[in-house]
């Protein structure tokens, strides 16, 4: 099975986000970047399918130079090849990203395209669906269970309060959700193997960015809590404050 996994490099979940002075962008200078956690499920699923059906796993990632470490992470887990679609700066518009990925994917002859359900930085959750549209392929998102038999795909996806079971045929696009599998750790052997793999670099085919970010704002500071008292005597005062100060009742 010829599998492509599209991955993104994102800031570590523990990052304290700082904005640039003009508040037009996030200040990247002190950020530790990692492989998007949802993409790890995609890589793991690809590796398990490869172990079962044989084939090849290609990692594809779009981004500036710094993303090579995320690509290495995916290779270190066990992927075979990698393509880096180069840009100076990450596009803001998921449509542009999907276009660039589609341009690369359409000639790759992939049976299956896997992606994380969303990137944890901008949280658009759009690329998998747009890709399906652009490539004319079935796209099943937020998948927590995946069964592939021949070219028949049965995928269980998470929807509000229930699970939906979807059938389609390969080639297909699947976006992965936590619970699908347990991503393996990259072993030191894997890291050494990854070091020896040449990452194929090519400029990304960029379409017009239709999303214009005007600015970022920090979430409003929360006021510190207040302890009014510790017995029933405090209730009237509490009610007064909730009514007059917090204005919630």
């Amino acid at each position: 099975m010829n599998i492509a996994v599209c991955v993104k490099q994102v800031p570590d979940t523990e990052t304290k986000v700082k904005l640039t002075e003009d508040k037009k962008a996030v200040d990247e200078s002190e950020i530790n970047f990692i492989l998007n956690p949802y993409d790890e499920f995609a890589v793991e699923e690809a590796l398990q399918l490869k172990e079962k059906y044989d084939g090849e796993v290609t990692v594809i990632s779009l981004g500036p130079d710094r993303i090579s470490s995320a690509i290495r992470s995916a290779l270190a887990m066990g992927a075979d090849k990698a393509i880096h679609l180069q840009v100076d700066e990450n596009p803001q518009d998921p449509n542009v990203v999907a276009n660039a990925l589609a341009a690369e994917l359409k000639n790759g002859g992939y049976d299956l395209i896997l992606l994380g359900k969303q990137a944890i930085d901008d949280d658009h959750t759009q690329v998998p669906s747009i890709l399906g549209e652009k490539l004319g392929l079935p796209s099943v998102t937020v998948v927590i269970k995946l069964n592939i038999d021949g070219d028949k795909v049965v995928a269980e996806r998470e929807i509000d309060g229930a699970h939906e079971i979807v059938e389609c045929t390969l080639p297909a696009i699947i976006s992965t959700q936590r619970g699908l599998n347990e991503p393996r750790y990259a072993s030191l052997k894997g890291i050494m193997r990854a070091k020896k793999i040449q990452i194929e670099q090519k400029p990304a085919q960029l379409s017009d960015d239709q999303l214009n970010i005007i600015g970022f704002e920090y979430p409003p500071q929360k006021n510190p809590g207040k302890i009014v008292g510790d017995s029933a005597d405090a209730v009237p005062e509490l009610l007064r404050l909730l009514h007059e100060e917090a204005k919630v009742i």
Binding site: I34, S68, S69, R72, S73, A76, Y185, A186, S187, L188, K189, I191, M192, A194, K195
Partner: protein, 584 residues
């Protein structure tokens, strides 16, 4: 270390020569290795978050099999084994950074891994033949075999040359017969590969038979090897520590590591090389505990303010930060020297170990103090990290022994006067002599230097302070030798002061070098705090150096010695206060 190793920076400093070319610019890791290291750290972090429960390891005094197997499968047992023998082939710098990282997660795990690879199989890496390496390193790298370094005995701790274990050659069978006991051996309970030091009778050139130390590969499956019960320890509870017994164990001739009779040098150089791992691990533990401590003082309010607003708390935070930064600068400068491969780093490694273990101990103690009673409670990590870190000042050479080493090895070849007493100096501190004759000659050909290269103007003051006190330390060392002659080896209180001065000087120059290189890379604007740290550290350090040097000549050493003798003779505290006549 090659025999043509350049002299160590600190040894030259005692001789009045400032070899700043060894320390500038501050060493930088190879970019590719740095990238790999990040991936290894990510793997370790994920694994640790999922699988390592430090509180449980401490309480159950055991590293669970799941963790051990995971570490083995992922490759953490072979961090520094060269790739061609199945390891990951990290540089010394990379290795120390990993141990810092692991020490900052769980010290028991770090000591298990360090006991295995910093010292357990280090002799094999440094002195083993290709055959020996081929036979054992792949298994050691995969963790199929776990290693121990077996030097200490009930009768020989600091005085390691006094070991009693014996190996006698049986020429007919081609084996040594090994007998002896080893004590407090890290990983003893889980190890299969033992680097054992024992004495064998060796005939000198002049025909005299002398007992000399050799290093042997002993495997756990050999008949006559047994393990004692696990020690019940203050800390590092998850790591195995036990005695090992050797009873008529037959060890094949080909299992000698290095030359027969040269085992003491092997033992010492393994420790020299291993010390930085322990230094890194110590700092890691302090960094680890600073996180919750800083969060706590930011939140906790007393007297209507957060703890972080009080000056005495600020002082603690600033001090541990400065000490951490300076020590870290020393460690990664020294690991860079190791990676160069052509410099004697033994003194600097000893300095790093002394400073790092004490900075970590003090820092963790202050973190505990800052969080108050909460620090005393078992559900918080402070008390465990204190317990875990305590032994760092004791093993791999106690900090007292290392201070002796720093001064005595540092001044051994200093100047012409030393020639006269050179023999006397060499005798009792045998094994300290890791400095080569080449290095001595190299130094003698140099003239005294008083200045180092120019540094960024923001560090100019620190540089002058360094130069001034480096020169004074040289003169002080010279006077020490002139006044005390061969008795310098007994003047330990003075040795301690000179060692402390040298450590501070090395701390100053390491910090200056690191920050100078950082400014060159990032610009002054972006290094505000680093510059502040370098300057404050230099200011604190030169004052300590001055005090230590003043006390070389003017002190109460004699009275202190007398008082101690009196007390030891008494055997208890004899000065009664009113109605406390029953003495404790």
């Amino acid at each position: 270390m090659p025999s043509k190793a350049l002299p160590s920076f600190s040894k030259a400093l005692f001789s009045g020569i400032l070899l700043d070319e060894l320390l500038f610019p501050y060493p930088k890791m190879d970019k590719e290795e740095a990238e790999n290291l990040k991936l290894v750290q990510e793997t370790f972090k994920k694994f640790a978050d999922d699988k390592i429960d430090s509180q449980k390891i401490d309480e159950e005094a055991h590293i669970p099999d799941e963790v051990m197997n995971g570490l083995k499968e992922l490759g953490f047992m072979g961090l520094s084994v060269p790739e061609k023998y199945g390891g990951f082939g990290l540089s010394n710098t990379g290795y120390v950074k990993m141990l810092e990282f692991i020490g900052g997660t769980d010290p028991s795990v770090a000591i298990m891994l360090g006991g295995h690879q910093s010292i357990g199989y280090k002799a094999l890496i440094l002195y083993g033949t290709d055959e020996q390496k081929k036979k054992y390193l792949p298994k050691l790298a995969s963790g199929e075999m776990v290693a121990s370094y077996c030097l200490t005995e009930p009768g020989a701790g600091s005085d390691a040359a006094g070991i009693q274990s014996k190996a006698v050659r049986d020429e007919k069978r081609g084996v040594y017969i090994l007998n002896g006991n080893k004590q407090w051996i890290t990983n003893a309970g889980i190890a299969d590969f033992l680097t054992v030091f024992a004495k064998e009778p060796i005939t000198d050139k002049d025909g005299k038979v002398k007992e000399k130390i050799s290093a042997f590969i002993v495997t756990r499956d050999m008949k006559g090897v047994s393990v004692g019960k696990e020690e019940n320890k203050l800390g590092l509870k998850g790591s195995s520590t036990a005695s090992l017994f050797f009873e008529d164990v037959e060890v094949p001739f080909e299992n000698v590591i290095g030359e027969p009779g040269k085992g003491f040098k092997v033992a010492m150089n393994v420790l020299n090389a291993g010390r930085l791992g322990l230094s890194g691990g110590s700092l890691g533990a302090l960094k680890h505990v600073m996180r919750p401590a800083l969060a706590h003082i930011k939140e906790r309010r007393q007297f209507g303010k957060t703890l972080s607003e009080f000056e005495m708390i600020k002082e603690k935070v600033a001090q541990m930060t400065i000490d951490l930064f300076a020590t870290e600068s020393m460690i990664y400068l020294t690991s860079g020297l190791m990676d160069r491969g052509d410099v004697d780093y033994s003194l600097e490694a000893a300095m790093c170990k002394v400073r790092a273990t004490e900075v970590a101990w003090n820092g963790i103690n202050e973190c505990l103090q800052m969080v108050g009673g909460l620090g005393f409670m078992k559900e918080y990590p402070y008390q465990r990290l204190m317990r875990d870190g305590r032994v760092n000042m004791i093993f791999e050479g106690t900090n007292e022994i290392l201070r002796m080493f720093i001064t005595l090895a540092g001044i051994r070849d200093e100047g012409e006067y030393l020639k006269k007493i050179g023999e006397a100096l060499k005798g009792p501190i045998k094994g300290f002599g890791v400095l080569t004759d080449y290095a001595t000659q190299w130094l003698k050909d140099r003239v005294m230097t008083e200045h180092i290269r120019d540094v960024h103007p923001s560090l100019a003051n620190a540089k002058v302070q360094f130069e001034t006190w480096a020169k004074n330390t040289h003169f002080s060392a010279e006077r020490f030798i002139m006044h005390h002659g061969k008795n310098v080896i007994y003047r330990e209180m003075r040795q301690e002061r000179l060692a402390n001065a040298a450590i501070d000087l090395f701390g100053m120059i390491s910090t200056i070098s690191r920050v100078d290189s950082l400014i060159a890379e990032k610009g002054e604007e972006k290094c505000k705090h680093e510059i502040m740290i370098a300057n404050v550290f230099a200011d604190q350090a030169w004052r300590r150096v001055r005090r230590n040097l003043l006390m070389m000549d003017s002190n109460a050493d004699r009275q202190m010695g007398e008082l101690s003798d009196f007390m030891v003779k008494q055997g208890f505290y004899p000065f009664a206060t009113e109605s406390m006549e029953i003495l404790l």
